[in-house]
């Protein structure tokens, strides 16, 4: 069984894994990182989105062995010093979640979207989140939250 080394939310793990083990199952069932949920099995819904070396991936479509040597950040590792990430705060402020099942993936995808466009328009946000499905919100407040989160992240960068 291959042995992999992977850092998840700042903690280094060495794990023996079956080659077929999905990254999301490694996270959830071996490492206890259940903050990342599974919403489908065809990589359509995006609920399982995490950062793999700084870029968003759907962790149901990545094998654990592919994450060997990588740095993974999940929704659980996003905040710092007991404070939520500005994007998490913006989702709260704008009521951008209801049942909350898509939220971890949606927040990760939103942050990734800002890598390429730190001040996205509504259109850019809607297109950029196309791979993350939400059944509760109709996306209106998600779009608002991403804009608000982007502003606050921009301010955090400019004042640091």
């Amino acid at each position: 069984m291959p042995r992999i080394t992977v850092t998840v939310d700042g903690v280094k793990y060495e794990e023996d894994v079956e080659p077929r083990l999905l990254l999301v199952h490694l996270l959830r069932e071996r490492l206890g990182k259940t903050g990342t949920p599974v919403g489908c099995d065809t990589s359509n819904c995006g609920a399982c989105t995490v950062m793999l070396d700084g870029k968003s991936v759907k962790s149901c479509s990545v094998l654990a062995v592919q994450a060997d040597g990588c740095d993974v950040v999940t929704i659980e590792g996003l905040g710092a010093n007991g404070q939520m990430h500005p994007m998490q705060r913006a989702f709260h402020e704008e009521h951008a979640l209801q049942c909350g099942y898509c939220t971890p993936g949606m927040v990760m995808a939103a942050i990734d979207l800002l890598r390429e466009d730190p001040e996205p328009s509504e259109e850019t946000i809607r297109q950029g989140l196309e791979g993350n499905l939400c059944r509760c919100t109709g996306y209106c407040n998600i779009v608002r939250a991403v804009r608000k989160g982007a502003q606050e992240m921009g301010q955090a960068v400019s004042t640091s």
Partner: protein, 782 residues
């Protein structure tokens, strides 16, 4: 000066755990020695099972047990239907795992229980099943033909019923206008984002079932009945639940089987569905053929309406299956006055996944039917669609109004909501642009759709449920406990799964008791913690459960007043209550409710006959429904060269009475409207000619993404309900009920110059393009 909590856009208390990944979805739960079950599912729509051999699976590593339906035949019971809508309804036996015959693709035929889910999945491949194919039964009209193959021995008709109000024959005889249309409510898959999951645990004597369910209380009763496990040995917990929309208002085969297997094996057993498994086996929604006939006078006044439904039950009757279409029975007449009304419905068995409640349940279907007919009537008479509605709707001064179907609407103001919507929408300007595009022969045509809806919320008065032959009551329970330190613990029988009850209930309690919003906590979703409840569906939580909590607060306050009078040595009538403090009128003598909670805890000095502790509980049964309403306007651009529809603007003005939290209300409307648009334009569960479901993934079943939807312009009018002390009406389903006809009316409006007066849902580019081609070949030119 205290700020009133009711009406404030409070940010939700629920959010922190959801945003930081500290949720307890059922699939997150684990128990020592826990086993995983996976089900082998039928690839045939209809077949006799001639052989099941699970021995190959039993020998594989990690496999603890494997069973066929036959192996469990004596202990698995039959899945319940709680709504025998007629005396002669056919309710077939429904084994959770098929024993001798399968009747839809996806029905479980065998299972493997293993130490992890990968091993269980491997072992499914080693099970052998032989089937003797039987004919699939897919089309409702063919299913009712005398020579049709039978889904069940008793035939393909589950029930039929008919009600008539007024003189329907006179209404139609000699009517200057009779419009007849047949609409198809396509089959939908509810698709909550959290797939279903169940964990059944046992200590050898009692059982705990964790399930992603909307109905922990109903589930407990039903699991006890189905499995024979005594109810008092059974606890049901709904942990964090990721959406339901009716799909988790069910007693599922998998819930029963996990419990049966935990009992059989003496170990915790968990099941989590995959999405493709879910698309096959989570109950589906809608699926009706609606034959509507409307008789009107030449000025557009409605004389009568005849509704004839065929409702696809699927292969079996699940918990509420037969009753769902009948929830629309009193709603086709909607906000309109008419002389006579006839409603008939036939429930039909087919070899497909059973249908049951999906957001709105019966009411979206009814609203679609009547709102489409109103537009057809307007077109026939060359009237503006809003004008024909105005000529027929109940005027605001006519409330309370008893409709032709017998419901009494307590309140409403259709004029006010419509006026507000028109001004936000810019109706006249859009009509002018539409005329211009038509004149120019613009390949992109503009369509304007109207939906002036009402619905019934707050299921339901138990007495009325009895009349409808429903198997349970519609009350709700609330308990309010002041803790010794002055904090408040609320227990609700409602079972939220995204609605934000913890926040809204906190606002109600904060106002009622004069305590800080932050000092209130709300417990729910566990039959040991919240032992009484009828759960969450049918937009009932606030109008039934929220009122129960409010009434419990009133009882707490009454007790506090008695105690305050005793401690302050005055008459209870001399006390005034404001901002959480009882004060003797005209003096500084006072006690806060927190001080009284502590005094009731120490119990050192209580009046005679007063029990220690400041708490109370109420079980509330409403006397009637509530009736939200509103006007939704939708503008679409339809590209007549590609058939593509784009929603250009969407305005919704809803009247849901008093609003507890506008942020939550708007969220419910956004999501509801999106789901209604999804039915109009995107979603359909498709079976092929052999009865295979083709839309088993989210790539095939088109849930709209952010890129597919517009923003919505929302506003409200506020006509308080007169039938409950808060004046609230319910909002969970309003958006879905209203939006589907608004969108389809807009699409048809865009295409009417091309000779098109209906497009079957979902109005996909292909359907629109084909309709345009057909008309063009017939020589119709705009």
């Amino acid at each position: 000066m205290t700020v009133q909590e009711i009406g404030r856009p409070r940010r939700r208390k629920e959010d922190t755990k959801l945003l930081t990944g500290r949720t307890q979805w059922t699939d997150n739960l684990s128990r020592p020695g826990m086993l995983h079950v996976m089900f082998l599912r039928s690839p045939m729509a209809h077949a006799r099972i001639t052989r099941v051999d699970v021995s190959g699976a039993r020998d594989l590593p990690g496999v603890v047990a494997a069973f066929s339906g036959q192996d469990l035949a004596d202990e698995q019971g039959s899945l319940p239907c709680a709504w025998p809508v007629t005396e002669d309804i056919v309710i077939p036996d429904h084994p959770p795992m098929a024993v001798s015959e399968v009747r839809y693709v996806g029905e479980a035929v065998a299972c493997v229980i293993a130490t992890d889910r990968y091993r269980a999945a491997d072992a499914l491949d080693a099970i052998e099943v032989d089937y003797e194919p039987l004919p699939a039964v897919l089309d409702m009209e063919e299913a009712l033909a005398p020579d049709s193959p039978k889904v069940h021995e008793a035939g393909n008709k589950a029930y039929s019923m008919k009600t008539v109000s007024g003189d329907i024959e006179t209404a139609f005889r000699g009517a200057p206008v009779v419009i007849e249309r047949t609409f198809r409510q396509q089959r939908l898959i509810p698709t909550a984002m959290e797939p279903r999951a169940v964990l059944a645990d046992t200590d050898g004597e009692s059982f705990t079932v964790y399930s992603s369910t909307q109905i922990p209380h109903v589930l407990r009763v039903m699991l006890a009945v189905v499995t024979g496990i005594p109810e008092h040995k059974l606890r049901v917990i709904a942990p964090d639940v990721g959406g339901g929309f009716g799909s988790k208002l069910q007693v599922t085969a998998e819930e029963v089987l996990c419990l049966v297997l935990a009992r059989k094996l003496g170990r915790p057993v968990k099941w989590t569905e995959s999405r493709s498994e879910g698309n096959l086996t989570v109950h589906h929604g809608r699926d009706q053929i609606q034959r509507l006939r409307l008789a009107a006078d030449a000025d557009g006044r409605i004389r009568g309406l005849k509704v004839e439904l065929l409702a696809d039950m699927g292969a079996y009757l699940l918990l509420l299956t037969p009753g769902v279409p009948l929830l629309g029975a009193s709603m086709f007449n909607a906000i309109y006055k008419m002389d006579a009304y006839e409603f008939a419905c036939t429930g039909v068995f087919t070899t497909k996944m059973p249908t049951d409640a999906y957001r709105g349940a019966g009411r979206p279907e009814a609203t679609f039917g009547i709102e489409r007919m109103m537009d057809e009537l307007a077109a026939e008479l060359n009237l503006d669609p809003l004008e024909v509605r105005r000529r027929n709707w109940i005027k605001h001064e006519e409330f309370p109004y008893t409709t032709i179907s017998g419901l009494t609407y307590d309140s409403g103001n259709y004029e006010a909501a419509t006026e507000r919507a028109l001004s936000l929408f810019g109706y006249d300007k859009l009509r002018a642009e539409q005329a211009d595009r038509r004149d120019r022969g613009d390949p992109v045509q503009l369509g304007i759709g109207v939906s002036t809806y009402t619905e019934m919320c707050g299921l339901a008065p138990s007495r009325l449920l009895a009349e409808a032959r429903f198997g349970a009551g519609g009350w709700e329970h609330g308990a309010v406990r002041m803790l010794p330190t002055g904090k408040v613990e609320v227990v609700t029988g409602s079972s939220p799964h995204g609605q934000g009850h913890v926040t809204s209930w906190s606002q109600i309690v904060a106002d009622a008791l004069g305590v800080p919003f932050e000092d209130v906590t709300v417990l729910h979703g566990d039959t040991a913690i919240a032992p009484k409840g009828m759960d969450t569906y049918g937009s009932r939580s606030l109008v039934v459960g929220g009122i129960a909590v409010l009434k419990a607060c009133e009882k707490v306050k009454d007790k506090a007043r008695t105690l305050a009078a005793h401690l302050l040595e005055c008459s209870p009538d001399d006390l005034e209550f404001e901002a959480g403090t009882f004060k003797v009128r005209g003096t500084d003598s006072a006690k806060t409710i927190q001080e009284l909670a502590y005094a009731a805890f120490t119990a050192h000095d209580l009046p005679d006959g007063v029990e220690p502790r400041l708490d109370s509980e109420v079980t509330f049964d409403p006397e009637t429904y509530s009736f939200p309403h509103g006007t939704h306007l939708c503008a679409v651009e339809v590209d007549t060269e590609t058939g593509q529809t784009r929603i250009r603007s969407y305005v919704a003005v809803d009247d849901i009475g008093k609003v507890i939290n506008p942020l939550i209300v708007n969220g419910q409307l956004h999501g509801g409207i999106a789901q209604g648009i999804a039915q109009a334009l995107f979603e359909e569960a498709v079976y092929d000619a052999e009865g295979n479901l083709l839309t088993t993934t989210m790539a095939d079943y088109l849930l709209p993404s952010a890129a597919d939807l517009p923003g919505f312009t929302l506003d409200r009018t506020e006509t308080p309900s007169t039938t409950n002390p808060l004046g609230v009406k319910g909002v969970g389903e309003a958006g879905t009920i209203a939006s589907t006809p608004a969108v389809v009316n807009a699409v048809v409006d865009a295409l009417r110059p091309y000779g098109i007066n209906d497009v079957q849902m979902p109005c996909t580019p292909e359907r629109i393009w084909r309709a345009l081609q057909e008309r063009a070949q017939e020589g119709v030119r705009p």
